[in-house]
C-alpha cells in the first residue's frame, strides 16, 4: 500500500484518464466492454476515496499551513517558471473529493443507457472526472487552472454531442461563459505570480499557500484598488461557475440540454467548484476583500435563493425547474460563506456536500421519467403516483430533501447557514428565510401536478423505475438520510479547516 498511500490523490485524479486511454484502444462495436472499463475506472477512485475517508486526520486544519495538509505530493514541474505539481487535501477539499468520486461512479452507471458513440462518451466522461479531481486536489494555482480548464473540453462535447434538441447552442454558451470567467482568472493568476515571492527561494511562485501569507505580497499587490480588482476578477470567474446572479443564464440551457448523467455531474460537482474556488483561493488570498465585500456577496446569495426559487416556480419543464432549484440552493452557500462565521462557513460547506447528493438524485429522477415519456412537461403528466409508486416515493423523498425537510441533509445545511449568518445580516437572512417558502412551493406544486390528481391515460402503462436506476439513487438517498440525522462525521471532516479559514479571514479586521 506504500505507493498507493503516498500517491493517493494522483491516483484518484489520473486513474480515470488511464481508463479513458484504455477505452480509446478498445475496438469498435464492443460497447459493453467500454461501459465496464469506464465503470472500473471510476470505481477505483471511489475505493480510494473510502481509504481517504478512513486515513484522513480530522484534527489537522490545512488551509494555509503546508505541513497540515495530508496526502501531499509536491514535485517541481516546470522549474524555469516555478510551476509545481502540488497536491494535498484538507477539510475544504475532502468532502468535495469524496463527492466527486461517488457521483462520477454513479453517473457512469447512470450512463449505461447511452448507446450513441459509447466509446467517445465514456472517454470524455473519464477525462472530465480527471479534471474535477484535479481541481479539488491542486494547491498550485497554475495546476488548478489547468485542471479547471481541462474540464471545459469534455463538457462541451458531452453536452454538444449527446444533448437534447438545442445542444449546440447550450454547449457553446456554457463554453463561452466559463472561458470568459477563466481568462479573468488567468490574468489575476499571472498578476499574483509576478507580485509574490516564495520565501524559501526568493523566486516568483504559483504556490497557493505562499499567496495566502500576506507577507509574500509586494507593495503593489498590497494596494487597495489592486486588491479590489483582483478579488472581483476572481469572483466573477468563480461566480460564473456557481452560478451566481447575474451570471447564471448559461445554467438552465446547459442543464436542460445535457444528458442525464452530465446534468448530475454539472449540478453535483461543477457548480461547487465556484464556491470551492472562493473558499480555497479568494477568501484566504484576499481576506480583507472578503470582509469588504461581505454584504454584497451575501446580497447576491439571497438574490440567488429568492430569484432562483421564483424562476423554478415559473418553469413548465421539470428539468429546468430542478436547474433553477440549484441556483436557489447555491445561494445558501454564498450566504453562509459571506457571513464569515464558523457556523456559516460549515453550513456553506455542508450545503455544497448535501446539495451535491440531493441534486444528483433529482436529475437522475428527471432522467428516469424522460427516458420513458420522452418529455418533461410538468403539466403533461398527472396521477403518476398510482402507476409508478416506487418512483413516486423516490421523487417525493428527493423533493422533500431538496425543500429542506428536517431529518434530511438539506435541512441541516440550510439551518446552519441561517444560524451562522443571522447575527451578521439580519434583514437579508429574513428575506432568504421567506424565500424558503417559494422553494417549498415549487417543489410541492410540481409534485402535485405530476403525481397526484386524475391519471393522464397516456401514461397508464408507464414503466416502473428499474434496478440500475435504483442502484444510482439508493446510495444517495441513504447518505442524505444519514447526514440528515447524524451530520457529525461529515462536519468533523471539515470543521477544523473551516474554523481556520474563518480565523484567517477575521485576522485582518
Amino acid at each position: 500500500m506504500g505507493f498507493v498511500d503516498s500517491h493517493i490523490l494522483s491516483l484518484m485524479t489520473f486513474l480515470p484518464l488511464l481508463g479513458a486511454a484504455v477505452i480509446l484502444c478498445v475496438p469498435k462495436g464492443k460497447d459493453d466492454v467500454v461501459r465496464w472499463i469506464a465503470a472500473a475506472a471510476s470505481f477505483l477512485p471511489l475505493l480510494l476515496s473510502v481509504r481517504l475517508w478512513f486515513a484522513y486526520d480530522r484534527t489537522m486544519a490545512g488551509v494555509n499551513v503546508a505541513s497540515q495538509f495530508q496526502f501531499v505530493e509536491h514535485y517541481a514541474w516546470i522549474p524555469s517558471i516555478n510551476v509545481e505539481y502540488f497536491l494535498g487535501a484538507d477539510g475544504i477539499s475532502m468532502p468535495m473529493l469524496l463527492l466527486t468520486a461517488l457521483l462520477s461512479f454513479l453517473a457512469v452507471i447512470g450512463s449505461f443507457g447511452i448507446d450513441k458513440k459509447v466509446k467517445g462518451y465514456m472517454a470524455l466522461f473519464l477525462l472530465l472526472e480527471t479534471g474535477m479531481m484535479g481541481v479539488f486536489a491542486s494547491l498550485d494555482f497554475f495546476l488548478f487552472y489547468v485542471f479547471w480548464e481541462v474540464m471545459l473540453l469534455p463538457m462541451y462535447f458531452l453536452i454538444g454531442v449527446w444533448g437534447g434538441p438545442r445542444k449546440e447552442y447550450a454547449a457553446i454558451k456554457f463554453f463561452l461563459y466559463t472561458l470568459f470567467g477563466s481568462v479573468l482568472m488567468l490574468i489575476v493568476l499571472l498578476a499574483l505570480y509576478f507580485n509574490t515571492t516564495n520565501p524559501e527561494t526568493g523566486g516568483h511562485t504559483f504556490n497557493l499557500l505562499h499567496y495566502m501569507a500576506q507577507g509574500t505580497h509586494n507593495a503593489w499587490l498590497k494596494g487597495f484598488d489592486v486588491r479590489i480588482l483582483m478579488f472581483v476578477g476572481l469572483f466573477i470567474g468563480f461566480a460564473i461557475k456557481v452560478p451566481l446572479f447575474p451570471f447564471h443564464t448559461w445554467l438552465p440551457d446547459a442543464h436542460v440540454e445535457a444528458p442525464t448523467a452530465i446534468s448530475v455531474i454539472l449540478a453535483g460537482v461543477l457548480l461547487k467548484m465556484g464556491t470551492y474556488g472562493m473558499m480555497r483561493i479568494s477568501f484566504p488570498l484576499f481576506p480583507d476583500m472578503a470582509v469588504y465585500f461581505a454584504v454584497p456577496m451575501a446580497a447576491i446569495g439571497v438574490v440567488n435563493i429568492v430569484y432562483g426559487a421564483l424562476c423554478a416556480m415559473a418553469q413548465s419543464d421539470l428539468k429546468k425547474m430542478v436547474a433553477y432549484s440549484s441556483v436557489s440552493h447555491m445561494g445558501f452557500v454564498m450566504l453562509g460563506m459571506a457571513a464569515l462565521t464558523p457556523l456559516g462557513m460549515v453550513g456553506a460547506a455542508m450545503q455544497m456536500f448535501s446539495h451535491g447528493l440531493i441534486t444528483a438524485m433529482l436529475f437522475f429522477l428527471v432522467g428516469v421519467v424522460y427516458d420513458r415519456a420522452h418529455h418533461r412537461q410538468i403539466d403533461g403528466f398527472g396521477g403518476l403516483g398510482a402507476v409508478v409508486p416506487v418512483y413516486t416515493a423516490f421523487v417525493s423523498f428527493a423533493f422533500f430533501a431538496s425543500l429542506g425537510l428536517p431529518g434530511l441533509s438539506g435541512f441541516i445545511a440550510e439551518q446552519m447557514v441561517f444560524l451562522g449568518s443571522f447575527e451578521v445580516f439580519r434583514t437579508l437572512v429574513i428575506v432568504a428565510a421567506l424565500g424558503i417558502i417559494f422553494v417549498a412551493a415549487f417543489h410541492l406544486w410540481a409534485l402535485q401536478r405530476v403525481f397526484l390528481g386524475p391519471l393522464n391515460p397516456k401514461y397508464a402503462a408507464l414503466e416502473e423505475i428499474n434496478g440500475r436506476e435504483m442502484f444510482c439513487l439508493v446510495p444517495l438517498g441513504i447518505l442524505v438520510m444519514i447526514v440528515g440525522v447524524w451530520p457529525m462525521p461529515v462536519m468533523n471532516l471539515m470543521n477544523a479547516s473551516l474554523v481556520r479559514l474563518v480565523d484567517l479571514v477575521k485576522a485582518v479586521i
Binding site: Y145, V150, L176, I187, L190
Partner: protein, 492 residues
C-alpha cells in the same frame, strides 16, 4: 569585428544546402517532365533536412557578424532558420499529399518554396538594410508565384495579383524609410544606424522612417491595417502554400522586426537587463496599439467567415496580434515569449491546414459545411483538427495555452494590463469561431456520411504535428530554455 567573405563561408552552410538543392531541382526539372514525379519532393525534403542539420551543428559561441557585417550568425538567427526550415519541411509533405497541385509542374513549385526559404534564412539574419531589403524581396517574389501557382484558376490569379500589388507598395514605402535612415546616418549597417540615431535629434524624419519601415514589416506579418492582402491570398493560393505563408514568412517577418527595431531604436541596458529606447520614437506604444488592433480585427472578422482557409487566414492575423504583445515590452522575456509562441504556433497552425488539405482532397471544398460530420467520416483527422483548433484558442492542456501564458505573463509583468485584458477577451471571441468548425465536425449530422480516407503519410504527419501540440502543453521546459537561450545571443 566583421568576418571577411572567405572566413564567413563556413557559417553559411545551411544557405548553401538550400541553394544547392534549388540548383539540383532546376536540373531535375529539365530531366523529368512528368508532373506526377515525386522525385523533386523528396529532393527538397533532403535539402531542407540537411539545412536543418547544418544549422544545428554550426559552432556558435557568442555569435559573429559575417560577410563584412551584412549577415549575423547568432542564436537568434539559427533559431529562426531551424523554425522556418521545419515549417518548410512540413509544407513539403503537405504539398506531396495535396490534390491542389496535381498535374502541375512539381519541380518549379519546390524551387519557389525553397527560394522563399533561402530568403527567410537571410531575412532572419540580415544586419544591413541593403541585405535586409534583398532578403525581403527574395521572400516576397517566390511567394507571389506560389500564390498564383494554380494557373487558370481565377481565385489563385487574383491572389497573386493582390499579393504583388500590396507587396510592391509595402516594400516601396519601406525602402523609402530605409533611404531616410541612410540619409540621416550615412550608414547601411543597422547597428551603426542605431548608434548614430542615439546621438542625433532629428525626430520628425526618424518618426517617418520608423513608421515607413513598420509598413513593410507589418505587411510581412500581416498586421492590421496592412493585412488586407492576406485573406484573399490565403483563400486563393494552393492550401499548402497558404499554410506556408501563415507560418514561414510570418516567423521571418517577426525575426526581422525584432532585430531591426531593437537594434536601431533601442539598446540593451546591462543594469536592468532590459532594452531602453535610445531614440525619441515611442515605437513600443505604436506597436502596442497595432497589436490590440490586429488581434481584435482579426478575430472579429474571422467570426463571419464560412470558408475555413479564410477563417484560418483571419485567425493567423489575430495570432500575429498576440505575438506583437511580446514585441512591445523591450524585455528579453518578451522576445522569448514570441519565440516560444512561434514554435507552438508552427505545429498547431500547420496541423490545422494539414487537415484542411486532407478534407479538401476528398470533398473538393473548404467551407465549414464541408467539415460536417468529419467526426464520423474521418475520426482521426477530426480529433487532430479539434486538438489544433483548441490549441489555437489557448485552452489547456494544449501548447497554445502555454504560448499565451508566456505572452500574457510578460505583458502583465511590465504592467501593460489593458493589453492583457484586450488579449484575454480576444481569446474568448476566438473560441466562438474555432468552435464553429468543431461543431460542424462533431455536433452536426453529415448529409454524406461516406468515410474520408486519410493516407498513411498524412496520418503520420498529423501525429507528428499533434504530438508536440499536446506534449508542449504538459511539459515545455526544454523549448522554453531554447527560446530563452536564443534571445540571449541576439548580437550584432
Amino acid at each position: 569585428m566583421f568576418l571577411g567573405n572567405l572566413a564567413s563561408l563556413r557559417y553559411f552552410l545551411p544557405e548553401f544546402a538550400v541553394t544547392a538543392t534549388i540548383l539540383l531541382l532546376v536540373v531535375l526539372h529539365v530531366v523529368t517532365k512528368s508532373p506526377r514525379s515525386t522525385a523533386s519532393g523528396f529532393l527538397s525534403l533532403l535539402g531542407v533536412g540537411s539545412a536543418i542539420f547544418l544549422a544545428g551543428i554550426a559552432p556558435m559561441g557568442a555569435g559573429r557578424s559575417i560577410f563584412e557585417g551584412m549577415v549575423a550568425h547568432d542564436g537568434f538567427a539559427v533559431f529562426f532558420k531551424v523554425l522556418t526550415a521545419l515549417a518548410t519541411l512540413a509544407v513539403i509533405f503537405m504539398s506531396m499529399d495535396s490534390k491542389d497541385l496535381e498535374g502541375r509542374s512539381q519541380a518549379e513549385y519546390y524551387i519557389f518554396l525553397l527560394s522563399t526559404l533561402l530568403g527567410m534564412f537571410l531575412l532572419s539574419s540580415a544586419t544591413d538594410i541593403v541585405m535586409l531589403y534583398l532578403a525581403l524581396e527574395l521572400v516576397s517574389i517566390p511567394s507571389y508565384l506560389l500564390a498564383g501557382y494554380l494557373k487558370g484558376q481565377e481565385h489563385s490569379t487574383e491572389a497573386a495579383m493582390k499579393y504583388v500589388v500590396y507587396g510592391a507598395t509595402a516594400s516601396g514605402v519601406m525602402i523609402y524609410g530605409f533611404s531616410l535612415l541612410f540619409g540621416m546616418t550615412g550608414s547601411t549597417q543597422i547597428a551603426e544606424i542605431g548608434r548614430s540615431l542615439a546621438a542625433g535629434k532629428a525626430t520628425l524624419p526618424m518618426l517617418l522612417a520608423a513608421v515607413m519601415v513598420a509598413v513593410g514589416f507589418g505587411y510581412k506579418i500581416a498586421a492590421v491595417p496592412f493585412h488586407m492582402w492576406s485573406p484573399d491570398v490565403y483563400e486563393g493560393a494552393p492550401t499548402p502554400a497558404t499554410a506556408f505563408f501563415s507560418v514561414g514568412p510570418k516567423a521571418a517577418g517577426f525575426a526581422v522586426l525584432v532585430r531591426f527595431y531593437y537594434t536601431v531604436f533601442a539598446a540593451p541596458d546591462s543594469a536592468t537587463g532590459l532594452w531602453r529606447l535610445t531614440s525619441t520614437v515611442d515605437w513600443p506604444f505604436l506597436f502596442a496599439a497595432l497589436s490590440a488592433l490586429t488581434m481584435t480585427v482579426g478575430n472579429l472578422v474571422a467570426v463571419q467567415q464560412n470558408n475555413v482557409k479564410r477563417l484560418l487566414a483571419y485567425s493567423s492575423i489575430a495570432h500575429a496580434g498576440y505575438m506583437l504583445m511580446g514585441f512591445v515590452l523591450l524585455s528579453p522575456a518578451g522576445i522569448q515569449a514570441i519565440l516560444f509562441y512561434l514554435v507552438v504556433y508552427l505545429f498547431m497552425n500547420l496541423g490545422a491546414f494539414y487537415v484542411v488539405v486532407v478534407v479538401s482532397n476528398a470533398t473538393r471544398g473548404e467551407d465549414i459545411s464541408d467539415f460536417t460530420g468529419l467526426g464520423s467520416r474521418a475520426p482521426f483527422a477530426a480529433v487532430a483538427l479539434a486538438i489544433f483548433l483548441f490549441s489555437l484558442t489557448g485552452i489547456p492542456p494544449f501548447s497554445g495555452f502555454i504560448g499565451k501564458v508566456y505572452l500574457f505573463a510578460e505583458v502583465i509583468h511590465r504592467g501593460v494590463y489593458w493589453l492583457a485584458v484586450v488579449a484575454a477577451l480576444n481569446s474568448v471571441v476566438s473560441l466562438y469561431y474555432y468552435a464553429r468548425i468543431v461543431r460542424a465536425m462533431f455536433l452536426d449530422e453529415p448529409k454524406d456520411a461516406s468515410a474520408i480516407p486519410v493516407p498513411a503519410v498524412s496520418g503520420a504527419m498529423l501525429v507528428l504535428l499533434a504530438a508536440p501540440t499536446m506534449i508542449l502543453g504538459v511539459y515545455w521546459e526544454p523549448v522554453a530554455r531554447i527560446a530563452a537561450d536564443s534571445v540571449r545571443m541576439l548580437a550584432f
